[in-house]
Symmetry: C2
Subunit: 543 residues, 2 copies
């Protein structure tokens, strides 16, 4: 990942004229702004401050090569990829960075490093791919002199594949593409494709309770973790790979989602599947969001269960058509849909994985449901177009920041009976908060994960940046969105995780007792509180 | 439930001659033993000891009628239905019983009762249906003068049904048959049918991480809980009904399975399903356990996913045929199977729920897999025969205890690749332990819950009782089975729960750190440790 933004160079495309016109229309557009990131050497970090004794112990364990404190390494491990992270990185004014970045080679190295950090009272931030969008790996160190970032980059092995039980035991530092390549070579897949897939790791997925674009079909990561190994300052927790257990409260579901606050997950045993012989795409346009949502609900509740299911609202559909296709295509499509009675289309993208006969039958059943809900299809092209761009949207954010625009995303989940009300109220509150600051917002939304009881809602928000008050503007937006989610019966996050940014809403969502229980449990295995401080149950009380 | 055993009078059948001959052959049979339970009035309980001040506060809140301390009420709330519980109850020598049984009418009553019990330092045991087979509701009170049993019997309302989201919010005290009756009247089902279904409650299922006979299709209770309300001594925890969340460690999966040690679950929001239009049974005989297990594995991993799937090993099949059918039927069947090459059959029972076309297609796919694995079918009669007796096996245990026999059950789960090895080693260790005591055992086993990664193994053990050393004999059996499960890569319990009986194995399964974390979390909301003491993380260290 490039240090100041998403992914690698060469993928940034400009905002297309149609999309830009749409944003300009609603939000305005900061004319003549060109606000690129500062040069790497101009990034200002706090002076590194690591006691010599601690450094010596790290070097003794790992060797000089794997104990790094150079400027480039510190900058590239200072933060994740949230909007505030990007503001700080691009401006060159980075208020926190690890004093040292450590590269253990084995799980046992991690055990040793945590023991040393506990003894030396050094804060620890675990680092997988560095893609957190919720401040989950910001190098915070409240109450500690020094902060060590532990990169799992060298824990990159697939330990074993149990072809009979369809599980794979994988080290935490394996990146998405590498995992899939090695699984697919043997005919398997994990089927876990978050938008960050190319730059995120197995350990990161497990630690943050990740969900991927195919999780409707393949399951969220928390449904696919059977066993795991977690290093903690008090020792190692090893949870065996049993498919189910009634032995009291479930420890897997406490370590999964702990985001480095309880320890470092060094290895996990995951459910894998055989690669599907056939995948069929389908795409539909609906006259409104409610019709499309009702169709998705029926698909899920009748067991049709698409492997990918996404429904964009009117704004997201319009923006997507303007940004992804050509203007001629877009106009032709809109004219066609208008004749068929759809003026403000909502795009639904579906995929079915399985044997050829299964996918054919499921797609056919899906078509029946879509038609029943006033859907119009122009074939699967809009779906395959979405697939082509499925990992590239974050690059657009980098471009928009350069153009002086605010871009942020946030997500929740709620029961089906509450989808429309929550969808409306979150959008209303976001728009209100941004209008109040004099920077009207353009809000897109989609449904992307289905459950029999409900679904996720994912928001993308655009606005003109308030130059000089970028962070206050973002806080106002974040607060409005988070409060609306909690007040409206959602969760503060469906799959981005808690990190520092969502921590203030944790007690609002669960009440005060659960975070207190978590803090007590944490204190038992991390008595000095060194593990990823300032996040989740130990996060800040307010933004 | 009758106070000394299972269910209601009038369901006890004798052990049939064929089954008795089988047991006699392996274990011997205590000739001339007739060992019925003592009369209720002859049950000896410790003197009730409840401070007057506490009693007055209970009466003030609930009224005299709902604060009971009579002999019958105390006896019937003294213990669950584990083998040691039955030994104690039937002998009339009951070492612990609640000093008072409380019947709150509302969730808020429960809140108040826990506040009073906390202030008065009275141990609390929550009581749903009283069917625990792991010592989960034994009225233990280590360190406390008094013990109050809180019965949820009056919290018997279905609060609401969300037909759009397919969820039902249900009070903890609703019994299985009542729940299903009311859901089915509206066309829905929870599909949760543990063997205790007739006498157990929603709150008990949620608190103990229960699984039912149809959980392969309908999901374990932990997969079906979205929201819950739990009273604790420190206040109420309310977890909202979101279908999925990434907001840190998962609180649902900590309260689910907490077995009253963290608080009392007074209400839960559960996933329901539409009642299936069609259910099709199927039954197969396999030449050995491994062939049947391989067929089940393929059924689950290819997504065929039967709603009920059970495979009995050779011993269980033989015992079942001898006990459930007629001798003529049995002989005819065995002769038929022998001609077809199966001398020691293993019975598989399957059920498919869904639309008529779905169930037909799935049954047909299942037949193909069964045949591929050397299965022979004589139609669905063995399956419907199993269905007829699905809730009645516990009555047989009562009869066998009267006859002087030991009967116990235990269960685990493990990955598919380990099923055969674990199946063998558990049986070997149980047989060894019983032979060592001079009372050879007869061990039955079945698979009853399927996961893509593995399955459950459920054991039934028979032996002659060692008169005068019944408890020592049981401890030897339990220790052998539990140690074999942990040593062999299983879990100490797949769905019976932890209770007091399995507590010694919790740290062996997860390591010491997890129980320490649980104790710390518990101390935060139950600082005096009044909630169900002696169970799960606070259980005894050894049997």
């Amino acid at each position: 990942m490039r240090w100041w933004g998403w992914g690698e160079d060469g993928h940034d495309g400009p905002v297309k004229p149609g999309a830009r016109a749409m944003l300009t229309d609603v939000c305005g557009w900061p004319e003549g702004v060109d606000n690129p990131p500062v040069a790497l050497e101009d990034v200002h970090l706090p002076e590194a401050d690591l006691p010599d004794a601690a450094r010596a112990r790290f070097v003794e364990l790992l060797g000089e090569e794997y104990v790094r404190g150079d400027h480039t390494t510190r900058v590239s491990h200072a933060a994740g990829r949230s909007y505030p992270d990007l503001l700080r990185l691009r401006s060159g004014d980075v208020p926190y960075a690890p004093d040292v970045v450590l590269y253990p080679a084995t799980s046992e190295d991690v055990d040793q490093l945590l023991a040393i950090c506990h003894e030396e009272r050094i804060a620890v931030v675990p680092f997988g791919g560095g893609t957190s969008v919720v401040g989950g790996i910001d190098a915070l160190r409240p109450g500690f002199r020094s902060c060590a970032c532990i990169s799992l980059a060298r824990l990159d092995q697939i330990v074993s594949i149990d072809e009979e039980s369809l599980t794979a035991t994988v080290q935490a530092g394996v990146f998405g593409p590498d995992l899939e390549k090695r699984l697919q070579a043997k005919g398997f897949t994990l089927g876990h494709f978050p938008q960050s897939f190319e730059f995120s790791t197995v350990g990161g997925w497990v630690a943050t309770r990740s969900a991927g674009q195919q999780s409707t079909g393949y399951g969220r990561i928390d449904e696919n973790v059977f066993g795991l190994r977690c290093s903690t300052p008090a020792g190692v927790v090893e949870l065996r790979s049993t498919p189910a257990s009634a032995a009291g409260p479930n420890p897997r579901q406490v370590f999964v989602g702990s985001e480095g606050t309880l320890g470092i997950i060094t290895e996990a045993t995951l459910r894998i599947k055989r690669q599907p012989a056939s995948t069929l795409w389908d795409a539909w346009f609906f006259p409104d969001f409610a019709s499309g949502a009702a169709a998705l609900r029926l698909m899920e509740q009748t067991g049709l269960h698409p492997d990918i299911a996404r429904l964009s609202d009117v704004n997201e559909t319009a923006f997507g058509l303007a940004q992804l296709g050509s203007e001629t295509q877009r106009k032709g499509l809109m004219a066609y849909l208008k004749v068929r009675g759809i003026k403000t289309p909502c795009l639904m993208v579906l995929r079915y994985d399985g044997t050829a006969s299964e996918t054919k039958a499921r797609k056919s059943a899906g078509r029946w449901i879509a038609k029943k809900h006033k859907g119009i299809s122009i074939g699967s092209t809009p779906a395959t177009m979405w697939e082509k761009h499925r990992f590239s949207t974050p690059y657009l954010r980098d471009q928009l920041l350069t153009d002086g625009m605010l871009v942020d995303t946030m997500e929740t989940s709620t029961p089906w009976s509450n989808v429309e009300a929550l969808h409306d109220s979150i959008r209303f509150e976001i728009e209100q908060a941004l209008t109040d600051r004099g920077t009207p917002g353009f809000v897109l939304c989609h449904i992307s994960h289905l459950y029999t009881a409900g679904c996720s809602l994912y928001y993308t928000v655009f606005s003109e940046q308030q130059i000089g008050e970028e962070m206050e503007q973002w806080k106002a937006l974040k607060t409005a969105a988070g409060d609306a989610m909690i007040a409206g019966g959602g969760t503060i996050t469906h799959h981005h995780g808690c990190g520092a940014d969502h921590a203030p809403w944790l007690p609002k969502e669960t009440g005060e007792l659960w975070p207190r229980m978590l803090r007590a449990a944490k204190a038992e295995i991390d008595p000095a509180g060194i593990m990823n401080p300032g996040k989740v149950m130990n996060g800040p009380d307010a933004l």
